[in-house]
Symmetry: D2
Subunit: 408 residues, 4 copies
């Protein structure tokens, strides 16, 4: 790979990406463009602008954007249509944000004439893979620089030295090492590393930042009603809202009731197991409610097919293949199933849990006429069941006859 | 089907199966053998003996058995190795009990020279399918009688008339109609019908019989440690126990903390949607803990394969295909994966939820040496990730080049 | 089911469906509408009109249609995009024609005010299921009459008696029983029953009607070039043609070279095994060529996903679920994959086989630059493979370490 | 990676691996052990011994073994139980041989105290992955040396120079470059590269080495009968034979009749497409016959499950994951299905094709009593089909009602 001339950096404004910014300038002598996105991580973005300016980035090379609506509308919601869970439990909060960042990096590179993009993910994690696969899928000729895989700033001490040598301001609380590493966006906050590294040790309370402890949550349950249209949430308690607003509100409900905590040991794409603590307050409610509305509006053939491909879909997103033909094919399948997933679900929030307690829809396939224990007025002829069973049993009988024949 | 001469009836001792007993005698003039199983449903069995005797069943034709250990060891535990959930949520508590009952019915038929078996399931539900497929799979020549599909006792009034005409005692509280229908065994209690028939109405509190309301559960969390060997639970808090004892104890923990309630609209095999309220206190804890121990002892390739076939496995059990070659093939696959699923999980129980908070094992695949944020002493070369990404990206780049080529 | 007033009958003009026509009139006293379709079965349709008239059908109740283009365009081609094979070998020639016939029956019922449709399939086969599931999926209130499951004309003798009593002319060669049963359309001819019933006996030569015996095929191979656009065949040897024309031509090529014979024992949806002899001359060539063009235009992720869902897709069609949400979902997935499946394949036809020998496309993903044994000018860095392997190996090493640890 | 001290080399005795041998000695100054296996590639092994000795290998460090029986029994046959085809067409002849070679390399390393193994696969292909994943899965601490990824002998000229400088004899016909690259074993011969690199060019005749051109095959078909026990071939024409003998004989039948040629563009695990010409004469017959015997002895539920996991199983083998938990899990599933796959198949060989024409078995599930067009004496009640269809249709009717409701 020839040296990059102009690099678009995914820039948070924090110490680490500021060091990367400087390192790119000094190591490659290249022009740096910064991209700072508001994905709902809950941090001010303007300080990032000031810091970038201070580090010598030209104003026209500083891109700061609020991408929350796009994030929820085009990434989070399509994923939730699938009820996606990685390894049965993880709501993919980090995974789903990476493709959007890469997409904007590549687009800004095209706008600014940059030939490279850079990110601050390490060489051990999944994020490097997600950033880079997305970037290459969108621009096959882009260069991707992953400083953590290249430089020799392998200890905290060296990083701080580099910062000092390069006049990068170090916030007081960044002198010591953080007790764990955090990623946050509108969908979730993840924590990993350091104090969490031994999966036999319970996660300390201070790791949780996004939700109250269920023990401290209100003693009274709260009920909310989530409206859906074609598989996407569109309202809360009857009030229509934009995608990002809905997720923001659900986050607040979830936070208050301690919903969405997960302590997980998962399998990284790069081959090792890792332990993470996830808080996905709104997403956990959303998954529950989406399943609730599907229960009455989705046909069993459709639902079982969706369930059967879900693990693969989740794995693709986890592994960084959002921009791949197979993810798009699965999305086409999933979206096709959601045409009538429209209606309302009532969810009960209480002390860490979110449970569907009622659901209704104009598009319901639930037929009280068929299922009733009362007289069904001929909707269903119980005698049909005899034939149904006989034909389903036929092959089993033939197997049993063979088994008997060959026993003695 | 020629008329049966001797029928083994799955007999609970309750009103409905007593009516069936009598109906079989009068309709077919056949000898009846009763089989009453203790599956952990929490009812005395001896009254069933007395009632059977009173209805004219010869003592040698009355079979009363405690099958709880067999139920948990040979049915529940194998299923839990798969983390089986039907339609994402249902722990299959009713489905998994039916094959065992059918197996004993067929065995007792062989022992007593009976040519038929009978059950009390209706023509609208899944249980008829489960009973009958299992029976035919075990004896292709057995006759199965399903009185609910045959007789004309189509209303509560007619049933009670029949009972009175035939001197079947009717408990006072059975005069009126039950407000919903119940099935129970050591794994779960299910409720459906009547007051539950409208899925838009929240289930009334009195439907729940097996667990305390989470609001009424203790205000302090409780932690338990579940030991596993080869995928099966073998101890609680360090004390080794038999399968049924473990499940019984977990049920008590779950009951106390309000764990395992589920309000679900599901798709029946016979083609309609139905709404059920399930309480699976111990099973819900067991699933959580089993996932917990798999997190550190199961390889990702193995785990992802298991996850991908799980929906099919669960569907087979739900649909009544326990005794089918494909269920046995999937079981072979699952069991093969569990050889090292041995270790201990700590679970926190609180107000309706059960969450893994720690897990450890001599067979752990978790490698702190690899995952650490600290210096890993060369366990993992971050530069390998670059090659890994490049080769995973190659096809995406070729796709992107094609897309660009054909855009203009 | 109340008695039908007006029935649309799938009418071939042959003896069996003429008997059904008369039986419907006499049994139900209902008006009969006939639908006779040209699906490419190779028979004149006008005699069917005359016969219907002779049996008292009003001219406005006689529908005769050439549906060959619709058949290939909307049914055969979508299915071939999936490379669908039932049980690894069967090209689904009968299965794919049934939904189209049902669709027209239901549409004609709506046009003519009929409340029922009728078909001539027996109660043992798959076709009854296919006809009826499709009909119900398109009109939930339609009545379906399947005379073979209802009447008591259970022997050839009784059928002929009924025909004679009702003045239905019996062609001389229909007096005796056919030595096997045949279904034909533009995609295939199937033969089953009678002389074919023992799968240990080789099928007699006279069973094959649609292809020459490979031993009698030309001694010289023939090469044809099939052009594809978005997964569908659009030309032969450079000449653009309509879907039905292409399949007709491919049938002629296949017939001449003895391509597409299959002797199969398959599993029917109704639970039994059956033996069929299939001739699918054009379809066999088409499958081979479609795979050939996919080889260079389809990404591996896309292709492997398609392969993994294909058996389910084929099973759905075989079982009669063409008009089901899950088939449509899978179709959406498949169609999404075909956007660039455009190019040309050269196929060699010789003595019973059709083999791809060359393929090219403007949309090819094949990169000689990457794969070449010669100098690749830096397109691919072989050192990347080391990292790729190391990370893929990581979990296997951790497994091996565990195995070693626990051996001694 | 520290320098290896003693290396076990997969040594063919040919020019390339001789150069590797010398390069290992000179580059690493390490002791070399050679392993030469007879996998049925059809070459004498003793010349390899002489050449190794001449290159300075101590006699006790030269391992020459006939592993054909192990190859077929423990690798080829288990794979054929799955009817494994990669990308619908490829019989995995190269893929399945690599794990066995790696297994012996690792075992010999343990016996001889070697700390490394080496292979002659390039950095662009799949074989490097297969060799190395297998080696690491069997010994997590083994070093693997892949000279083609390390050295700078990047052109034919440099290789020949190195050979001359190191007194490695160069066979006259090896001076020029081979027009394509070959791999062979008892299962197949593959050819790729050079003259085959353009998939739009038909493969020249001289590429095919293992089978006669179908045009030159006998004008008269030949029929053979293959006996199976539990999924494995055990006899030909009634004569019991060992696994390797059977495959050898089937190869001869296939060769003679031009069976098993395949021209394929496939997707390599390392991300690129590649074109190969494969000849798998005996394997092609074996697959056909195995499917033939499964048709009558395998239940549909079992067969459909097998079919659905086959693509994944094949992909695992292709990608080099023979020694992985998931392949072993799938194998357990597959083997479970083969318990009754016992019987005999008659296959017709003619001019490039192998077709099942008859099959019979004591374990057949085919029931003429059920399927017959004649009177079935009550084996099957056609009326059952009505109920079967009604219940399968129920959900489709509910869907259709909804669709109608919302149309207006």
């Amino acid at each position: 790979m020839s040296a990059p001339k102009k690099v678009v950096l995914a820039y948070s404004g924090g110490l680490d990406t500021s060091i990367i910014l400087k390192w790119l300038q000094t190591e490659y002598g290249c022009e740096v463009v910064t991209f700072t996105a508001d994905l709902g991580q809950g941090e001010e973005l303007e300080p990032a602008r000031k810091k970038a300016e201070m580090l010598g980035i030209k104003p026209e090379n500083i891109f700061i954007e609020d991408v929350r609506e796009e994030f929820v509308r085009d990434f989070v919601f399509p994923m939730f249509r699938a009820n996606a869970l990685y390894e049965g439990l993880y709501l993919l909060g980090t995974s789903i944000a990476r493709p959007l960042i890469s997409k904007r990096l590549v687009e800004i590179a095209a706008e600014t004439g940059a030939d490279a993009v850079a990110h601050g993910a390490t060489g051990k994690g999944n994020d490097q893979v997600r950033f880079e696969l997305a970037a290459y899928a969108l621009n096959p000729d882009i260069k991707v620089i992953a400083p953590w895989r290249e430089w020799d700033l392998s200890s905290r001490t060296k990083l701080l030295e580099f910062a000092e040598q390069n006049q990068i301001p170090i916030a007081k609380d960044k002198r010591g090492e953080a007790p764990f590493s955090v990623d946050a966006n509108l969908l979730h906050t993840s924590s990993e590393g350091k104090v969490l590294e031994n999966p036999a040790d319970e996660a300390p309370d201070y790791v949780y930042q996004r939700t109250v402890n269920p023990e401290d949550a209100p003693d009274t349950p709260e009920f909310i009603e989530i409206g859906f249209e074609k598989g996407d949430a569109v309202s809360i308690n009857g009030e229509a809202m934009s995608p990002a607003t809905i997720l923001t509100q659900l986050n607040e409900y979830g936070r208050k009731h301690g919903v969405g905590r997960l302590d997980l040991v998962e399998n990284r794409f790069v081959g090792m197991k890792s332990r993470g603590v996830y808080e996905t307050p709104g997403g956990t409610i959303l998954l529950e409610a989406h399943r609730g509305i599907e229960q009455i509006t989705l046909d069993s053939g459709a639902g079982h097919l969706k369930d059967s491909i879900m693990p693969r879909y989740a794995e693709l997103i986890y592994n960084g293949f959002w921009y791949s033909p197979e993810r798009e094919m699965l999305q086409a399948l999933i979206d096709e199933s959601q045409k009538f997933v429209t209606g309302t679900v009532r969810v009960k929030l209480y002390k860490g849990s979110a449970r569907t307690v009622a659901r209704w829809s104009d598009y319901s396939l639930y037929s009280e006429a068929h299922v009733t224990f009362e007289d069904d007025a001929g909707a269903y002829d119980q005698k049909d069941a005899a034939g149904f069973i006989q034909l389903n049993a036929l092959r089993l009988k033939l197997l049993a006859s063979r088994a008997r024949r060959h026993k003695g």
